[in-house]
Amino acid sequence: MKPLAVTAFTTTSAAGIGNAATLQALRAGRTGLAPNALPWAPIPCWIGEVAAAQREALPAPFADYDCANTRLAWHALAQDGFREAVAAARNRVGAARVGVFLGTTTSGIRSTEEAYAHREASGALPANFRYATCHNMDASTEFVRLALGLAGPALTVSTACSSSAKVFGVAERYLRAGWIGAAVVGGVDTLCLTTLYGFSALQLVSEDVCRPYDAARHGLSIGEAAGFALLEAGVDSPLELRGYGETSDAHHMSTPHPEGEGARRAMEQALAAAGTGPDAIDYVNLHGTASAANDLSEGRAVHDLFGDRVACSSTKGFTGHTLGAAGITEAAITLLALREGFVPGSPTTRTVDPATRCRVVLAGEARALGLAMSNSFGFGGNNAALLFGRRA
């Protein structure tokens, strides 16, 4: 594929609000995870919370959209001059030629959970429950489109934990066909009962902090995050999307293929799209959830393809598993690594599980990077790999 300029990006998670704070945490090897103290979800686990985002309601014109998910999206949009960059793109190509493609897994379901906890005697949900502008999967996307003053095509990808990686592919196809001239991609997911208790029911949540690729890993730590990137056709930028791959395992609903067969094909597709091979890759940001099955199958697939040479890490030890926002969170971290010249480490990982095979970097290191990959895999056996490059 033709390289696609990434002209702006921003990430907000427990690791940091905005790129500068995130970069500081990544360089210092400081996790943003903390023991869960949520009064409304007393589960013994660690979480990645962005409490500051919830303190401020949306501005009055967007009151109907006000919920935990849109508050986090709004907070993230305000970082790193992202809104200004989008405004410049809007002026350049026109509001109707800027698309908005976001990923989420649970949208504003926290407001529905609260509505169900306060049902009327008749069984009805409270009168203030707003389905279309909070709960619907597309609600946060439509809010972001309105907040950015855009009138181009929009949609929400919801393929579990690959959602906000796959939006890069969707946007690239709109741009390639000339349907639009620029695209806002990204994703947002917030802590809610559904995912905290749901992943606990699947016995995938660790009581300890998540330790990706560790021999003693016991599962994931759930986090919340929002992030965005601006992709523009016909302009130059030091950072580019060079390729992407999207595949399905066709194996099991909630367990990855044991040898990471679908994951490997996604990575191979991304390399092929960029017209390059595994030897050109300098860093792989792993999906690395810290579940027993994911790290084993992903590690094997990565090792089969890249061998011992390529430095890998899962940055979920910084952010937690941010589910529908994981793709954009880790894409942004990969872009920061390329821009700043460093390999992020694994702050919570102590002893790498040798069975996972691939070369996991424990302590971050400064190093110039040219090409880096980011993996995101989800329930339903849904895989995405993104390949980003820095122009020399």
Partner: protein
């Protein structure tokens, strides 16, 4: 943007497939609405068939029809599944449990993801290419069709596109009145085959106001974002038809067949 429609699947109360729907759309026979309970998909392995929810069964049954009508091997297909509310009945079950004991069933939880129907079908038919499940609220049908056509254009490989709505439980129905199941599925291809139903061109155009529903589409189906597909099916029933469906607040998607 152009593509060929290779095959069509349809499920709604009183409609059991494309031939049936075509006859109704052409006025050759009346629509007699009979209650529809989505069949357990034959293509699913026993374990997945048992675990699948009502919405997954509905979407997969429509997709199975389209696959059966197509000459293209299932494992060559990319998939785009589009639903405004893919997990309505499961969200209801989940939220009831979360408001009470909080003892969530693992199966209910993995069925609650928006891409569960597509995931089940992928396992059943061995579809290992890209699978994208999307939502665009009331504009889901048109957004899904554009997304599918763009994927076809980018890869030149066939795409299975499904769009569906399953009835919501009463508390949520007050917000989104989906009371009847409707599901459509299409196999889109880049080349004409002996099975081709129509060649279509799509374009975004300024909105022409309210959708123009064929008279035979019952009022009860019209809140379903997927039911807008019946406007497209009506155009496909006769040669040279065209249709407009809402794509965005001020835009329609025009489909010329």
């Amino acid at each position: 943007m152009r593509f060929f429609i290779e095959s069509i699947g349809v499920l709604a109360p009183g409609l059991s497939g494309w031939e049936d729907t075509r006859a109704v759309a052409l006025g050759e026979k009346p629509l007699v609405c009979t209650p529809l309970s989505p069949p357990a998909p034959q293509c699913l392995p026993a374990a997945e068939r048992r675990r699948s929810g009502v919405t997954a069964r509905l979407a997969i049954a429509a997709a199975e029809q389209a696959l059966a009508g197509s000459s293209i091997a299932a494992d060559r297909l990319s998939m785009v599944f589009a639903a405004s509310e893919a997990a309505g009945e499961i969200t209801h079950q989940l939220c009831e449990v979360l408001a009470g004991t909080r003892e969530v069933s693992p199966t209910t939880f993995h069925n609650s993801v928006h891409n569960a129907p597509m995931g089940y079908l992928s396992i059943a038919i061995g579809a290992r290419r890209s699978g994208t499940s999307i939502c665009r609220g009331p504009w889901t049908l048109a957004a899904g069709l554009v997304c599918s056509a763009l994927e076809l254009e980018a890869t030149r490989e066939p795409v299975l596109f499904a769009c569906y709505d399953s009835p919501l439980a009463p508390p949520m129905r007050a917000s989104l009145p989906v009371v009847e199941p409707t599901a459509l599925a299409f196999v889109l291809s880049a080349a004409r085959t002996e099975r081709t139903i129509a060649e279509c061109a799509i374009a975004s155009v300024p909105s022409a106001g309210e959708p123009r529903w064929p008279a035979w589409v019952p009022e009860a189906w019209r809140p379903n974002p997927s039911a807008l597909g019946f406007i497209v099916l009506a155009a496909l029933a006769a040669p040279g038809g065209s249709a407009r469906v809402p794509l965005a607040p001020d835009q329609d998607l025009e489909i010329r067949c």
